[in-house]
């Protein structure tokens, strides 16, 4: 077969891949917008505070793993303890910190070691002690001290200690909306013919936002361009995509920064895996697989309300490591659960969600890079002319800008998080320029992640956070 035959075949593959991706994004954006509108209308009739006094509210345990968080841990704990919910406990798991994270908590809340029967329901490293406060006002705080074992191990220890029917896993340095638990509990309670096994919430970036006493006071678009591009990226992902996936009960990922889980299902599925850095996605996939194999009706829900604010990386180095880790986590998940790939027994998960993640999340950076290289070669060889090459780039660019504008528009029509002209201007400006500098870097980091994965790299890599409205502090995740 001739060279031109292969060129035609490859061109068709790249073109149909791109068109399909564009179509999926448009459809999911339309579905998401419809769902969000319906959700906003429904919640306008709900006074969430009404259930604050209800004895029927199921108990929720908030599990927050902490590793070397001494500087902010007391403020973070204070913020968690002040959440609005009638029946909850906060379980902070000190994952063998090398600094005085534990001591600061002990001093701040006058904690004392208690005699506590720990049922080893899921695998975790040795628990050295369980601490409770003497003060009744913070009787809902439990601090677990354990040997270092990483985030998933710390979460498992929290699961073993906590008493709630449901547990929320959160990053200790996130800022939650006061009513986050009240909103997240709703899907668990309103489903009548399926078991809701997990609910996720929207994560937004808090860089340059004003935060005081663990509460978000003022929302701003970050000045830092990397963080600003992430604001837009999170808006696209959370507002235009995940809502639609949840609508068809196809959500595979609930962000580790905020998720509410049915404890019994998690325990039966075996808890968080120690074998991957993508433990959040892996757990959801394993739970779903288990429910599918048991033929039990279930749902993974999603709340489009902005509930959790987190700090995004502001340097290329940290962003690169984060994306590298996400890619390796994704590859682990796809590898561990390859059995479901186009397996009709797993219904939506096997036939739609897994293939999407395989083709359009994992392969997308690779296909995109190859497609670009392929087009350049064709141009150099004179197989396509300059017009075609530039038209290709213009198509991808204009579509990316259009999608970003759509995300901003949906936000304006629904939650209206960014109200000032300045913020809108900044967002639109970044929508125009991020395809030139931010997107290529994330693609490059993903490819590095693929290479590192094949080389057998494990672990999180060090992360540095500035701290939300707090003095800059170096910290590293376990």
């Amino acid at each position: 077969m001739s060279f031109s035959f292969w060129v035609d075949i490859l061109s068709c593959i790249f073109l149909s891949y791109t068109l399909m991706l564009m179509l999926i994004y448009v459809v999911s954006a339309l579905v998401s917008y419809r769902v969000i509108r319906q959700h906003v209308a429904e919640t306008s009739f709900v006074d969430f505070r009404q259930i604050l006094t209800s004895p029927l509210s199921p108990k929720i345990s908030i599990i927050a793993p902490a590793y070397n968080e001494a500087l902010n841990i007391v403020d973070n704990a204070k913020s968690l303890l002040a959440l609005e919910y009638p029946n909850f406990e906060v379980v902070i798991v000190n994952d063998g910190s090398k600094d005085d994270t534990l001591q600061r908590l002990i001093d701040a809340y006058q904690l004392e070691k208690t005699s506590f029967l720990v049922q080893q329901q899921v695998e975790c490293k040795e628990i050295i002690g369980v601490y409770k406060a003497r003060d009744e006002a913070v009787s809902h705080l439990t601090v677990v001290d354990k040997r270092n074992g990483g985030k998933s191990d710390a979460l498992n220890a929290g699961i073993n200690v906590c008493a709630g029917e449901l547990f929320a896993c959160i990053d200790v340095d996130c800022v939650l909306e006061r009513d986050a638990l009240l909103r997240m509990i709703k899907p668990f309670l309103e489903e009548t013919d399926k078991k809701v096994i997990a609910t996720g919430g929207v994560i937004r970036l808090a860089n340059d936002c004003v935060i005081s006493d663990g509460r978000l006071i003022e929302i701003n678009v970050p000045r830092n361009l990397i963080a600003r591009a992430q604001v837009l990226e999170y808006m696209r992902a959370f507002l235009l995509s995940r809502v639609a996936w949840a609508k068809i009960n196809g959500l595979l990922l609930i962000s580790g920064a905020l998720g509410l889980f049915d404890k019994q299902t998690v325990v039966e599925a075996g808890g968080y895996s120690h074998k991957t850095v993508g433990e959040d996605m892996e757990l959801v996939m394993r739970m779903r697989r288990m429910m599918e194999e048991r033929k039990q009706p279930y749902a993974v829900r999603y709340i489009p309300d902005p509930l959790c604010w987190t700090e995004g990386p502001t340097s290329w180095d940290i962003l690169g490591r984060q994306r590298n880790r996400w890619t390796r986590g994704l590859m682990d998940c796809l590898k561990f659960h390859r059995k479901v790939f186009f397996n009709p027994n797993y219904r939506t998960m096997g036939m739609i969600s897994y293939p999407f993640w395989f083709f359009y999340e994992w392969l997308a950076p690779i296909v995109e890079s190859l497609g670009l290289i392929f087009s350049i070669i064709l141009w150099i060889l004179g197989i396509i002319n300059g017009s075609s090459f530039w038209l290709l780039l213009a198509t991808v660019y204009s579509y990316a800008v259009c999608l970003s504008c759509l995300a901003i528009w949906v936000d304006q029509k629904t939650y209206l998080q960014y109200r000032s002209k300045r913020d809108l201007g900044r967002l639109l400006m970044i929508a125009l320029i991020e395809p030139f500098f931010y997107h290529p870097f994330t693609v490059y980091s993903s490819i590095r992640g693929n290479i590192d994965y094949l080389r057998g790299k494990k672990g999180w890599g060090s992360m540095t956070r500035q701290g939300l409205s707090k003095p800059a502090t170096p910290a590293s995740t376990s």
């Binding site: 009739f45 005699s115 009787s139 309670l189 309103e190 198509t395 579509y399 800008v401 002209k421 809108l424």
Partner: protein, 367 residues
Amino acid sequence: MMPISLTEWKVELENTWLDSLSPFQLLLLTLVVISTLMAVFLVVSVFLLMLVRNRKKRWADALQARIEDGITIWLAGDYSIQELIITFQQEIKKDPRAIKIILNVIFATSKLFRQEGQSALRQLLTGLNLHQLCYKLLKNWHWYQQAYAIQIIGQLQLEHALPLLKRKLKTKNRTLRLELITAMFALGGQSWLQEMDYTTAHLSEWEQIVLLERFRRLNIDQLPPFETWLTSTHTGWVLFGIRLCRHFNRFDQVLELGNLLTHPDKKVQMAVLDAFDYLGSPEIVPFLIKYMPQATGDRLRTTLRVLGNQGDPDLVRFLIPYTEHPDLSIQVSALSALKEMGLTKIELRQLSSNPQYIDHMFDPKRP
């Protein structure tokens, strides 16, 4: 250079560039044009939205302030209702959108009042003929408009609307149904809730929690027809019936509740145990003794706890066998219940093969 007309320009473009494009290039060009136009439309729309929103907000804020002031002065007695109605009618004449703001303010203000205050606001509402608007909204195509009208009807006690509400009781929309039940309850139409579709439609846990809290706040003695709900084929309604008994201290329902311990749904059994725990009547004991052998897991633990809370030494003999139960958590529950019944640490140590549990139970630092 001579300026060329638009038609000439188009012709020139077609002849020079568009004509030379391949189908593939035309496809790409179409995508670029569509995406760009869409992006421009969205950007313009975002800024227009912002402008309109800001302008509307300024107007609405000013109007709302005037309406609130008017109502405050009227409620203080410095204004007659006729004067207020005329003022508001002038506002509506100036801008018909004022109706919605006036309705919102009356509704929001009524939440701050009870009895006389609410009655005065109802008078104002009917004086402005806004009750007719509420009835009209009940027929609106959008469910949220209907729900809003139902909220106002319930809040402002527009009793004439009861037959209209009754017609909607079979609705499939859950938010609407929730508002309907609340409004009918507030209007004293509890008996009409009998018409509710409790045989085919589900009632979720969320709806139950919200309704129970709303009922409690309404502070009304007469309960909805929960006796019939207890016999529903749908667990949600049965659960709701049980929870109503618990919340409203219906000791007279112990017999009916006890019989529900044989219900096939474990959630129902658990709700009965929870109600028994709350009601704490001695009449519950025979039901629990009978139920114990068939209970497992959480339900058995709760049964043991409820029996323990009775504090009756005669029940000790029923609990002792469970101190050797293969499930560790059941053992602990049985020992805790026996402790509640007054058994000493020494007596409990004799019953348990794991003395550390007993030490743990008597540990003052135990959470």
